[in-house]
């Protein structure tokens, strides 16, 4: 049983859109015959508390598949299709590519803050191999306070290509704990009172126009 809540809030940045189209227009004018003008269509989403039990929680746990294009989870029965982009199980995150799926999903890891990524690179995308492309997305505190906590890496942004190979997404994991709690509190440090995990909260921004790399 998968429970999740997605807060849809399609944001159309009209002025920005104009600016981006202007940029395209001007940058292509040199070639003389500009290509058909593409309309950038950006959608920013926040997914709250996507529950993705780990193998320790449930030995039969399957990956919770998610599509950035639809903003919805995808049934595990469709795992052999390109309808999903990423999958979550505990701290494991897979991409629909390489050894994990039939798709063309790829990942670029940038040491840049989420807001500062305005365009997706054209190449350098990594598929899932023996080492997952999304490995090491978090820091485990171990014996340091707060003990045994999973914190997403700071100042790291993931740019993904969707499984169909046509869209670009930037992706930022915010929390691994239910309700995206304040992790500096004593309640969080207390293992008995710490909110449940794994409940993913993440932000993403997708370019809905095929082939366009703009993310702002």
């Amino acid at each position: 049983m998968i429970e999740h809540y997605i807060s849809n809030k399609t944001i159309t940045f009209l002025p920005l859109l104009a600016l981006v189209s202007l940029f395209f227009f001007s940058s292509c004018s040199d070639s003389g015959n500009g290509p058909e003008e593409l309309q950038s269509e950006i959608q920013a989403e926040t997914v709250m508390d996507l529950h993705a039990p780990s193998l320790r929680d449930n030995p039969d746990a399957r990956f919770v598949l998610f599509s950035f294009r639809s903003g919805q989870t995808v049934d595990i029965a469709d795992s052999a299709s390109t309808s999903w982009d990423v999958g979550f199980r505990g701290t494991e995150i897979i991409l629909n590519s390489g050894i994990s799926g039939p798709g063309e999903a790829g990942l670029v890891r940038l040491d840049v803050a989420f807001d500062q990524v305005t365009i997706a690179p054209s190449e350098g995308y990594e598929a899932d191999g023996e080492t997952l492309a999304m490995a090491d997305w978090y820091t485990y505190t171990g014996m340091n306070e707060p003990m045994r906590a999973v914190f997403p890496n700071e100042n790291e942004t993931y740019v993904l290509r969707t499984a169909d190979g046509n869209h670009y997404v930037k992706f930022d994991i915010i929390s691994y704990y239910k309700g995206n709690p304040d992790t500096s509190t004593e309640a969080f440090a207390n293992l008995q009172r710490r909110p449940a995990s794994p409940f993913y909260t993440f932000d993403y921004v997708i370019q809905l126009e095929e082939g366009l790399r703009d993310l702002q």
């Binding site: 040491d111 365009i119 690179p121």
Partner: protein, 760 residues
């Protein structure tokens, strides 16, 4: 006008007949010892003369009688109050004048050797030297070296395998500790445990901050601390001291000195023991274990002839410690271990000192030293040995030193020698040894009493790492009688440690390996032949020879006598440190673990201001305030994946300087010393340590705002009373407000103590 000339003429004739146109005299200090280099100005005649080595002077007035037959002599010298005397020329006859000069209140006739390797007045040397006197040590109730150093401005006791000293933001690895000019050997994880050294028989402690490798070689990167042991002036003297304090801390000392015509002897014995203490009630191990130690030292000096002197010193220290520790077996149950440890060190240094002629001294000595530690862990129940380790270090140093005073304006020091070091320990198979040969040369030029310039360098050639050249230039300028300026620029270095060169360690439980830079090739080849290497990360052929850690530093300071009783000292420092040695993985093993070796990895800077105000309120009360501001940062270079203008991936190197652990930005102290003629004495000393980072909880290698430990202040007090002239009683309390924290293991909480001493 004419009559004036006539009178002058008559007076000259008159004085000639009285034969008083030459003023002869001698300048002495308050203990009637002659003082050299005193400037004497005959004011009316504008003539200046400087006293010679025997304090004598002679001013020839060339038959001039001046205006009224009077002459005003002004004697001045650094360290003494200027003295003015009026003389009637015709009353001088042929007598020899005695001019007695009084010391400045602060500037007792302190002679220091650490700054120049020659005996020089502390007021004259070109680098600032801090002196802690034996009296101060006694009044403060200090027993071991860490007690007294922790109370000095700009010095911080830090704990890592013992109590070490942090100087100008450098870890304790980088300060050279000496006793009578001989380096103390034996460091654990870089720390020389200062509690090994008793301060009972100490005349003074000389502290030089800033790199001093130009004279003293390796380890003198942050500074030098030289303990000068007492030398009695009485024909026969003896002293006994006993002190008892909390934690069953007992300290017993005795010394005996016999001074014959040409033969001086001094014997010192100390025993120090404690039941230890625990700051962590959850641990079965004591924070400081139960221990007892002995120190024996003997000095002798023998005049073979007027020109040739022999002296020798020997010191032996031995300590045993008993503690408990525990291990968890694979089944998860705790097993208790008896942890016994012992350490001993020995140093002897026989020397011949030959005065070839008046101003040329030759010293030839051979220092020999060893340091040994034994650690024995046994299961408490079965008595079986869990782990037994032994470490032996041998150090030999033949050395020749020549000091030459060409004229009063030119002083030179030259030295050369060898350091032979040997190791005998399990983790260092093949009993590595290495040799350093060194030469140093220093010249001081003193064009006037106002100015002194010193320059020098030292060369250290080493069998296992790159040779080092350490230059240093320093200067003193007396802007006025009340303002002295000092500045220096110099280089310091620290030789790679044994482990960094020779370690050969395979952790059998975790499966990783660590090799020193001299053993790594062999080690990797061996592991390769055994088929244990999966991937070599850094090709062995591209390994560079390891370099010593080194630093360039600048110091600039001033001593200002605000009044005759208030002296203000300030020093600004900046150290640029290169090539700090750390471990990094060099290969991956087939078991998934790494092989580590040592590399020159890190760059660091430290800078700050140190300042102290000393005020002699009156002859009974002395007060001082000290403060240090410290900024110590390490260079972090990080490769980041970012985007170019087109959004494509590029890798850029970002560098930043980030704060280092265990460094307080602010630290300081306030002290009040009192004594009176009735034999009462008392002190109050407060030491402040500002907040500092200690644990790297997020593992990023530098201090974040959440990683600071709170600041603390420790107050120590003591009261003493002299009885019947020869006896002294002292009562004291250290850490009055009971600051206790597991992060400051050297502070056991509030400590009462009582001390009785006798001196004959």
């Amino acid at each position: 006008m004419r009559s004036f000339c006539l009178i002058s003429f008559l007076m000259i004739i008159f004085s000639k007949s009285a034969d008083a146109q030459v003023i002869r005299g001698i300048v002495v200090d308050s203990s009637k010892q002659p003082i050299e280099d005193v400037h004497l100005l005959a004011e009316e005649f504008g003539q200046t003369i400087i006293t010679g080595g025997d304090g004598s002077f002679q001013i020839d007035l060339n038959g001039d009688l001046g205006s009224n037959g009077l002459v005003t002599l002004v004697a001045s010298r650094v360290g003494y109050e200027p003295k003015k005397i009026k003389l009637k020329l015709n009353e001088l006859d042929n007598s020899v004048l005695t001019v007695e000069m009084k010391d400045y209140v602060y500037e007792s006739e302190t002679v220091v050797v650490t700054a120049t390797r020659t005996r020089r007045d502390i007021e004259e040397v070109t680098i600032p030297v801090t002196v802690v006197t034996g009296r101060q040590i006694q009044n403060s109730g200090s027993v071991r070296l860490d007690d007294i150093l922790g109370e000095q401005t700009g010095l911080q006791i830090v704990n890592d395998h013992g109590s070490g000293i942090q100087v100008q933001g450098f870890a304790s690895d980088y300060t050279l500790i000496m006793i009578d000019g001989n380096p103390v050997i034996g460091r654990t994880a870089g720390t020389l445990d200062l509690s090994r050294i008793s301060v009972r028989n100490v005349k003074q402690i000389e502290i030089v901050k800033g790199p001093s490798s130009a004279l003293w070689g390796s380890d003198a990167l942050a500074g030098v601390i030289n303990i000068i042991t007492e030398n009695s002036v009485e024909p026969v003297s003896a002293a006994f001291t006993t002190r008892y304090g909390e934690n069953s801390n007992l300290d017993l000392s005795a010394d005996l000195s016999i001074k014959r015509d040409r033969w001086n002897n001094k014997l010192f014995v100390n025993r120090n023991s404690s039941a230890g203490y625990s700051l962590n009630p959850n641990s079965i191990s004591q924070t400081v274990p139960e221990f007892s130690n002995y120190t024996f030292s003997y000095n002798t000096e023998f005049g073979l002839s007027d020109r040739l002197k022999f002296d020798a010193s020997a010191r032996y220290f031995t300590e045993t410690q008993n503690n408990l520790s525990s291990i968890s077996s694979s089944e998860g149950d705790q097993q208790i271990l008896n942890s016994d440890a012992s350490q001993e060190d020995f140093v002897a240094n026989p020397r011949f000192i030959y005065t070839l002629f008046d101003r040329l001294n030759v010293e030839l000595g051979w220092m020999t030293s060893f340091y040994k530690t034994v650690s024995d862990l046994e299961f408490r129940d079965s008595g079986e040995t869990y782990e037994y380790t032994e470490f032996n270090q041998y150090y030999n140093k033949p050395e020749l030193q020549v000091t030459y005073r060409l004229t009063d304006q030119h002083h030179s020091v030259f030295g050369t020698g060898l350091v032979l070091e040997d190791l005998d320990a399990e983790r260092y198979p093949g009993q590595p040894d290495f040799i350093t040969n060194f030469v140093y040369l220093q010249h001081s030029w003193i064009p006037s009493q106002k100015l002194e310039v010193t320059g020098g360098f030292r060369f250290d050639g080493h069998s296992e790492y790159s040779s080092q050249i350490s230059p240093k230039f320093s200067a003193r300028y007396n802007h006025t009688d009340r303002i002295q300026l000092r500045g220096s620029i110099g280089r310091g270095f620290k030789a790679p440690e044994f482990r960094q060169l020779f370690l050969n360690f395979n952790n059998s439980t975790a499966g990783y390996s660590v090799f020193g830079s001299s053993t790594v090739r062999e080690g990797i080849e061996r592991l390769q032949n055994e088929g244990n290497i999966d991937q070599v990360l850094i090709p062995i052929t591209s390994l560079e020879e390891i370099k010593a850690e080194s630093s360039w530093a600048a110091n600039l300071g001033a001593d200002v006598d605000l009044t005759d009783r208030i002296r203000w000292r300030v020093n600004l420092f900046r150290n640029n440190v290169k090539d700090l040695i750390e471990t990094a993985p060099i290969a991956r093993k087939t078991n998934g673990q790494s092989v580590f070796s040592y590399f020159n990895l890190h760059d660091v800077y430290t800078q700050g201001i140190e300042t102290e105000l000393r005020w002699t309120v009156n002859s009974n009360i002395q007060a001082s305030v000290g403060y240090q501001f410290l900024d110590a940062k390490r260079l972090f270079e990080e490769e980041r994946t970012v985007q170019d203008n087109q959004g494509e991936i590029v890798t850029r190197t970002f560098s930043s300087y980030e704060p280092m652990f265990n460094r307080s930005r602010h630290s300081g102290n306030v002290k009040l010393f009192y004594d009176n003629a009735a034999g009462w004495g008392g002190t109050i000393r407060g030491m402040y340590r500002g907040e500092y980072g200690l644990y790297d909880s997020n593992g990023n290698g530098f201090v974040n705002s959440s990683e600071f430990e709170p600041s603390h202040m420790v107050w120590n007090m003591s009261v003493s009373k002299e009885l019947f002239k020869d006896y002294n009683l002292q009562l004291g309390v250290d850490n009055l407000f009971n600051h206790r924290n597991i992060n400051t293991p050297n502070l056991p909480g509030r400590i009462w103590y009582m001390e009785a001493s006798a001196r004959f």
